[in-house]
């Protein structure tokens, strides 16, 4: 009789362990997946940038500093290794693009250029998706962190070495108004 009790308790413990093991892995995978979503959008944006710069150069070739800033930010984003680095560089690129579009306001012919308008439309769509993808990333992190920091999930997280994940911060460039230099 005693053996059966021990066996029963052991079985329950194993089942609970399996449940938390799977749960933790599913949630951390879904964070990775939502990062992949951000990455896709960042890559799309990076691919559009050279095209945009060329178009703007055709009308405003002397605005050299902004072109440099844009391609610097792009290069930094492509070279970034960690998620935080990449996200920060992505935000920087978004900031410089904002300045680029602000400068474009001064060139009526550029604003009438079909190619430019299309790129602008496409980039603002991507901007929107980046925002939603970051939101989903942070939502996924929240669900994961809730499990990792509350009982009994925290016990299993400890055993399995799962640690709290960090949220993507709102970029400093987004908090401050964009400075445009002439």
């Amino acid at each position: 009789m005693m053996e059966y009790n021990v066996l029963g308790i052991l079985l329950v413990l194993i089942l609970v362990f399996v449940y938390y093991f799977n749960r933790l892995n599913v949630l951390s995978n879904s964070i990775d997946n939502s990062w992949a979503q951000i990455d896709v959008q960042l890559k799309k944006r990076a691919d559009l940038v050279p095209n945009l710069v060329e178009t703007v150069k055709g009308y405003a070739a002397h605005e050299k500093s902004i072109f440099e800033a844009v391609s610097d930010a792009r290069a930094r984003m492509i070279g970034a290794k960690t998620i935080e680095e990449k996200d920060q560089a992505g935000n920087m690129l978004a900031g410089t693009l904002k300045s680029l579009f602000a400068i474009a306001e001064n060139y009526p012919e550029l604003k009438a250029n079909q190619n430019f308008l299309m790129l602008q439309e496409e980039l603002s769509g991507i901007e929107n998706k980046v925002a939603y993808a970051r939101q989903h990333y942070n939502d996924s992190v929240l669900v994961f962190n809730n499990l990792v920091t509350t009982l009994p999930g925290s016990i299993f997280a400890g055993i399995l070495g799962k640690k709290v994940r960090t949220y993507l911060e709102i970029a400093t460039t987004e908090r401050e108004p964009v400075k445009v230099q002439f």
């Binding site: 997946n33 979503q37 769509g125 939603y132 993808a133 939101q135 939502d139």
Partner: protein, 293 residues
Amino acid sequence: MEEQIAANKRNSVILVGIVSAALVVLFYLFAQVYDPSLVFLFIIIAVILSTLGTIASYWYSDKIVLSITKTREPTPLENEHLLNVVEGLAIAAGIPAPRFVVINDEVNLNAFATGRDPEHAVLAVTSALLKTMNREELEGVVAHEMSHIENYDIRFASMVAVLVGIVVIASQIFLRSMWFSGGGNRDRRDGNVIFLVIGIILAILAPIFTQLIQLAVSRQREYLADSSGAYLTRNPMGLASALEKIKDNNVNTKVNGAVSHLYFTNPLLFKNANSLFATHPPIDERIKRLKEM
């Protein structure tokens, strides 16, 4: 969220069970009334019918619903208008972007989603909705539908539409045949009269019961979809303002009753919104709850 998904998957199975049982009982009674020696045959028909109905409601509910509601592919302009909104919100919800179609309706502002899971979801909006709503409002409506998709509400609601339809048709056939054959066949045994009465009562009650299922499931989940939609866009006012526009604009629409619960707001306005038979909560209450968020 996950409890909601599990509950919807479970309810879909329970629904199939209830509808199959209802069909078997109905056909048993039909057989008793017409010819008791054919009971076995009638029950086999009922089993085949409910099996086919289940298969159809699971695999083809989206196609059936779309053909009932007469949707079409979006024009390039409509496509451009909706694509960014749908893709963005699908990313926010963490599901694949659903296919979308347009309901030819230049007056009413409405939308629905159908399909068996997020991978096979279809989003439908009226052409008037695309023209009238600004981006924020459109995002609100699409986010509401997106959370129906994410929650698997669409699986259950679409299966309800198809299976309820089957029960209604079966009882209609029974009742109408009673209407025409009444008075004939005097050689029936007395037992038949009792079965006849039970049969008629059941044939009348079955559609009402199935309609009650339809109602019970929809009202609460409309509030839920409103709030999770607002969570997706982080902007309850967009959805609230969309509902305001709908409140002043929509007129009664001819929609098949079997699919009315799928819509964003009830297309059958003549039904009192507060009554037991309303498929949707009153719009004013939905707006109030959104504004309080």
